[in-house]
């Protein structure tokens, strides 16, 4: 039920045939989690709060910096240094005190994502890096929640609704993350301040349409917007049952899955992966596992993405390492894989991983 004050506040919704009292009560009853209160999160949060979405979760571990204020419109100069989720909620409650805010000042991780997502109807992805984007995608697939995706690059933006009623997921569009370091974020390349405003507002629109059940959701479609010529293009995205299934099968390992590693964000000292992480990469077609051991060495390892290139073949067959996939080297003790990785690194192949301790510990 809406109070008299709410009736006045939401009048322009209430007089719309497509929203009305029933629609406004749907908004009030709905729970939306916004991941990231940055360039995209700010306009999303502002419009959802104004529109009367009853419960809004905000998760962001980051603090407001002066260079955020050019586009992150919920924050003031006085907010510099404060946690973004908290500063956003403090500002939003002034806009609409009817909204219940859940503030999470920690980082979204594989440990907290599933429990957190399961408490909301819909997730909004306002993250600024690939490892969290893939984490959001996979957690939404695992908890069966739709999510409204948005991302930006200098003057261009992408928007879609993923995991909506059997529609495609982010992995159906981009199955594997780009090579580490090849796509820079806003802090490195810059962004036109209004761009996240445009894209974030498109995301807020998709959220409201979803809750109200009006219009056509941007599911199975990717909207691409170019601010420089005010043009947009809509591409059709197909669901890939394989990509979805692969995520569903990782449910058991999800809590231990290293998304930074998956996106190649680890430091040079972290080229070694544990047996646990290694096991999640078996059968993963975005990864090539190269067994450097001789055929007689035990235990044998088999998998559709495992191939053998022995030490004696390395120097004559270096071109075999040229691949778009993530390379993981394994040997018996970790010694040969370390040597080969360093050898290849000197040749310019970086980002290659090796199994720490080798196969002798493998069960």
């Amino acid at each position: 039920m809406l109070s008299q004050e709410e009736h006045k506040r939401y009048n322009r919704h209430l007089i719309l045939e497509q929203v009305g009292q029933i629609g406004q009560e749907k908004l009030k009853a709905s729970k939306v989690l916004v991941v990231g209160a940055g360039g995209l999160g700010c306009p999303v949060l502002q419009y959802l709060t104004a529109a009367g979405v009853g419960t809004i979760g905000i998760i962001d571990f980051d603090t407001v910096s002066l260079s955020n204020l050019q586009r992150q419109i919920l924050f003031t100069t006085d907010d510099v240094g404060k946690n973004k989720a908290q500063a956003a909620a403090d500002r939003l409650v002034l806009l609409n005190s009817f909204i219940r805010f859940h503030v999470f000042t920690e980082r979204l991780t594989t440990k907290n994502a599933l429990d957190l997502f399961s408490r909301y109807d819909l997730i909004v992805d306002g993250t600024d890096n690939f490892s969290t984007r893939y984490l959001v995608n996979d957690a939404c697939v695992l908890t069966n929640k739709p999510f409204v995706f948005g991302s930006i690059y200098t003057f261009e933006g992408q928007v879609s609704v993923f995991n909506y009623e059997g529609g495609p997921s982010y992995r159906c569009l981009f199955p594997t993350p780009p090579k580490a370091g090849s796509v820079k974020n806003c802090s490195v390349i810059g962004v036109l301040g209004v761009l996240p405003g445009i894209i974030g507002t498109q995301q807020a629109n998709e959220v409201l349409k979803f809750i109200l059940g009006i219009g056509e959701p941007l599911s199975g479609k990717l909207l691409i917007y170019d601010a420089l010529n005010a043009s947009s293009m809509v591409l059709t995205v197909q669901r890939s049952a394989n990509e979805i299934e692969r995520v569903l099968q990782k449910r058991e390992e999800f809590e231990h899955y290293d998304y930074d590693l998956f996106c190649g964000l680890q430091g040079a000292e972290l080229n070694q992966i544990s047996l646990q992480v290694f096991k999640t990469m078996l059968e993963d077609e975005s990864v090539r596992i190269i067994d450097l051991r001789e055929e007689w060495e035990e235990p044998q390892l088999s998998g559709s993405n495992v191939e053998r290139i022995t030490m004696s073949e390395i120097l004559t067959k270096k071109e075999r390492f040229q691949t778009d996939k993530r390379l993981v080297l394994i040997c018996q003790t970790g010694s040969r894989s370390a040597n080969v990785r360093q050898l290849l690194a000197r040749e310019g192949w970086d980002g290659i991983l090796e199994l720490k301790g080798g196969m002798q510990e493998y069960e």
Binding site: I152, E156, L173, P196, L222, I224, M233
Partner: protein
């Protein structure tokens, strides 16, 4: 046969153009097309992107049989 290639995001910076028209032989695959473009823009080899043909995302094995608009779509990370 004629193709219009649309460059998006970082690919646009790399090719220094929004789009271009090119002539290819009928029956070429998308991968063949990328190989041909990589000769002109060697840095494409370091980029990750998806390809759409007439606004539909396709596999790189897709064979180009008629005049089409092709878009090279990289992922964006910003937010």
């Amino acid at each position: 046969m004629k193709l219009k290639i649309i460059y998006l995001g970082k690919i646009k910076e790399l090719t220094e153009k929004d789009n271009q028209q090119i002539e290819i032989e009928k029956g070429m695959s998308v991968q063949d097309l990328i190989d041909q473009l990589t000769v002109e823009y060697p840095h494409l080899a370091f980029e990750s992107f998806q390809i759409s043909v007439n606004r539909n995302l396709v596999e790189f094995s897709h064979v180009l049989t008629e005049e089409a608009d092709i878009a090279l779509l990289p992922p964006f990370s910003g937010g």
